[in-house]
């Protein structure tokens, strides 16, 4: 069943603040095998001009994707999440995520399309810090494959 295209442009309320911890960044850096000292050593990060350790570029996805659950789990949208695959992912940064940041995400449905029975959902997550300044925007394309019986 095709998704309701009238959801295009819908904006969801901002998430509860997420506080970025040094140790969470370290855990993520270890998980991707990245020994860059900017992720774990505050002195190394400061030497590059950052106030504290910074997060790897894709770290923020955990936060924006959790926020996007407001969209993907929205019963009114009716997305069959068991058929969803991650199609594209893009980030545009104003600055890196830094330990100590308190971030909120506002999710927007940029488009809802149906192609060949697949539903294609583009979700934008605008991430702001406690001062309201833009940090990064995440663009996530999700594809819900058509059920077999519809083909």
């Amino acid at each position: 069943m095709a998704l309701d295209q009238s959801f295009t442009g819908r904006t969801y309320p901002p998430t509860e603040p997420y506080e970025v911890g040094r140790e969470k960044i370290r855990e993520f850096a270890v998980a991707i095998g990245d020994a860059n000292p900017a992720y774990t050593d505050p002195a190394a990060a400061r030497a590059l001009g950052h106030p504290d350790v910074i997060a790897p570029p894709t770290f923020v996805f955990s936060i924006t994707f959790a926020a996007a659950e407001m969209v993907t789990q929205d019963p009114k949208l009716g997305l069959d999440y068991s058929r969803v695959v991650h199609g594209d992912q893009k980030f545009r940064y104003s600055r890196p995520v830094v330990a100590g940041d308190v971030l909120t995400v506002t999710s927007v449905i940029e488009s809802v399309k149906s192609m060949a029975g697949n539903d294609i959902l583009d979700i934008r997550g605008d991430v702001h810090d406690a001062a309201g300044e833009h940090v990064v925007t995440a663009y996530t394309k999700l594809v819900a494959r058509a059920p077999e019986e519809d083909k």
């Binding site: 990245d34 900017a38 590059l48 001009g49 570029p57 991650h86 594209d88 992912q89 545009r92």
Partner: protein
């Protein structure tokens, strides 16, 4: 932001050092925990095969994170990356053995975008087991 590479020193076609990243089942379990993505297709073979996959597959975001390392290691400061996007074209299939799979990443400067902002576009290619796993993989990097 303190990139190590100078804009003046790169040309279109400049290659970044290529890297190969190993990924085993243990890597995926660790990434699941760190990222909070516990989708069973990334750790449960029975589930993965039940939904039509050949085997357990790596998180697309793990592959995206590995590919980024080619750019961040080259630039010196990870904050030099001002834009980064990929398309997930094929999964990285990770067998249940001690060697797992490999993700091979190469990258080159595809365009010098802005002499004032000193930004370049880097195009990346990521392959695993002979297939392209990331397509349209591009980063915009602000150089020194």
């Amino acid at each position: 932001m303190t990139a190590r590479i100078a804009y003046a020193d790169v040309e279109v076609g400049t290659e970044l050092p290529a890297r190969t990243f190993p990924v085993t089942r243990a890597t995926l379990v660790r990434y699941a925990g760190a990222s909070g993505d516990f989708n069973p297709i990334h750790w449960n073979e029975r589930f993965a095969k039940g939904v039509g996959l050949p085997d357990v597959i790596a998180h697309g975001m793990f592959t995206m994170a590995e590919a980024a390392r080619v750019v961040t290691d080259w630039a010196g400061d990870p904050a030099a990356v001002v834009e980064y996007g990929v398309r997930f074209t094929n999964p990285v299939v990770v067998p249940d053995d001690d060697t797992g799979a490999e993700i091979e990443v190469s990258a080159k400067v595809a365009a010098k975008l802005d002499d004032e902002a000193r930004t370049v576009r880097v195009d990346l290619v990521a392959r695993s087991a002979g297939v392209k796993v990331l397509g349209l993989s591009r980063a915009v990097v602000r150089l020194a």
